[in-house]
Amino acid sequence: MITLDRPLTRHRQQAGCPPRPRGERTWRRRLPLLPALIFTIAVTQLPFVATLVISTFQWNILRPGDRHFTGLSNYAFVFTDERLRNAVINTAVLTASVVVLSVVLGLGLALLLDRHFFGRGLARTLLIAPFLVMPVAAALVWKHAVYNPDYGLLNGTLNAVYRLFGVANGPTVDWVSSFPMPSLVVALVWQWTPFMMLILLAGLQAQPGDVLEAARVDGASALQTFRLITLPHLRQYIELGIVLGSIFVVQTFDAVYTITQGGPGSQTTNLPYEIYLTMFRKFEYGQAAAAGVVVVIGSIVIATFALRVVASLFREEVSR
């Protein structure tokens, strides 16, 4: 894993992990693992099998008599449905913009917090607050207290500034209706930037001090040091942030449900919200299940890529 104090890591390696388990008493070794493994398989894998089965049925609970096997026709529907294709695109746009923007902002903040300045500890504490506020609460506050066209903080502040310069009234922008996707992205970037900042700050602080010192002695400029030493060192931390951020942001449900309800129209409907609508508004269980299977397959594709990133960090630690 990503820690650069090699001697400590080596020590941990020797201390914690003996070379190989022996063949004898294999089951005694496995025993403590089994409850967690069985629980995970039962609660996370079995429902997926059920999803696979349901996805082959024509099944709308509003028409209870009409439940029958339809083979792959739900999948045919899923792949041709305009709304779902739209949801895939929205999910990609939302996830990519949130992750990229929060990594960039998080990096900037981490670089600032990696220096000593007045009130640094307090600033750090205040900066992680957005990540700790309950996501639903944060989404409601953004929607009603910040974006609201009549009395939201955003228009209110604009109005106050306009009046300061003698203009009678500021603009009345309905942020959520006029800019639905950016409104979502901003609220989510706000929430995820502290997460990225914490990971990247830990990365910066794990930099070996002597290398930086050597660079300074050799007369490297701050920019050169950053580009040639800090950034390559940070790469694995950035990758980790992107991977973990993507896992969570792809699943965004709270913010969409609260801020835009997927609208206007379906402009901000992402996959989790679309599946939710299919399930609990249209009651098309078969279609929802098929969409769920497609999402899982999509996630597996992304996950194999993501797992490779995590695996490379992990092997590095284990093999040290």
């Binding site: 020797q14 388990p21 967690a36 493994l37 629980f39 205040l126 700790l132 609990f280 992304i302």
Partner: protein, 298 residues
């Protein structure tokens, strides 16, 4: 390969010098920021904190002062909104949230501690594969499991039951906990365990009496992360509960649609439900990073 040689290596002069050179949290060793950049840092910090500050401030205002344009930050302060909330119906929701988070966290620890033991201290064969199996379950979108879970839960009459949420939150957090706990248990000094084994202690005793006390910081960090994720979970809570088992986030969205908009009271409710996690997170800032990165970042 005993702990003694490792300890000897650690205390060798070169290693000590390296360790000393490593830049730590001690701000005294960090280079100073220039006044201009200090200003920028604080400007960005305050911009990020503004929505939280506004939420808390509005929660102490009267409704008439909360929804004004331009905003009235200096309106008189009052506890009325909190009195209204606590005097009415938020308490059962908070209790449900507390129950779901605490019980699922305890369950996660009970499952993850032995599992982590079997993945680090006495590893099973192919333990890395098991690790990645756990992680891969985290990549499956929860929404894809919602439909079958909803149907199963409905058929066994467990809809609107807090134990349903406890089981689901346990499954949701278990992979994270296994990864974190493994990284912490890998640091438990070998000698301690060997001594316990010589004494002939069984696994439960070793885990509770020997491993748990040494790995306490790790257990605390794991509990914190599991608590945060369960406390904040919304999707399962809103779709699988109705009246009896609803948690705090469900209360929040419900009270908007049922009663129209009361901005000050909404902000009070938002502040109140966020408070446990804010306090826990602020108190354990240093543990947060390691937890969020599944134990990867120290």
């Amino acid at each position: 390969m005993t702990g003694t040689t490792a300890a000897a290596r650690i205390s060798s002069p070169t290693v000590l010098r390296r360790l000393r050179r490593r830049r730590h949290e001690d701000p005294g060793q960090l280079p100073r920021l220039s006044p201009l950049w200090t200003f920028v840092a604080w400007l960005v910090t305050l911009a990020f904190f503004a929505p939280v500050a506004w939420m808390v401030l509005t929660s102490f205002h009267q409704e008439s002062d909360a929804a004004t344009n331009p905003p009235s930050p200096f309106a008189p302060l009052t506890f009325d909104q909190y009195k209204l909330l606590l005097g009415r119906d938020i308490t059962p929701f908070l209790l449900n949230s507390a129950m779901a988070s605490v019980f699922s966290t305890l369950l996660v620890l009970a499952l993850a501690l032995p599992a982590a033991y079997a993945l680090s201290i006495k590893p099973v064969k192919k333990w890395t594969d098991v690790m990645f199996f756990f992680l891969s379950t985290k990549f499956l979108p929860l929404i894809a499991a919602l439909l079958p879970i909803y149907m199963i839960v409905k058929s066994i009459g467990m809809l609107d039951n807090i134990w349903t949420l406890i089981v689901l939150y346990t499954a949701m957090n278990l992979p994270i906990a296994v990864w974190m706990m493994r990284s912490f248990l890998a640091e438990v000094p070998r000698e301690i365990l060997e001594a316990a084994e010589v004494d002939g202690a069984g696994l439960p005793t070793v885990l509770l009496r020997v491993v748990a006390p040494v790995a306490m910081p790790g257990i605390a960090a794991t509990s914190l992360i599991c608590f945060i994720f369960s406390w904040n979970e919304f999707m399962f809570a809103v779709n699988l509960t109705a009246t009896q088992a609803s948690t705090a986030p469900v209360f929040l969205v419900g009270f908007i649609t049922n009663e129209g908009l009361f901005l000050a009271r909404l902000c009070a409710a938002a502040t109140l439900v966020s408070l446990p996690v804010l306090i826990a997170g602020f108190a354990a800032q240093d543990k947060l990073v390691r937890g969020l990165s599944l134990g990867a970042v120290k």
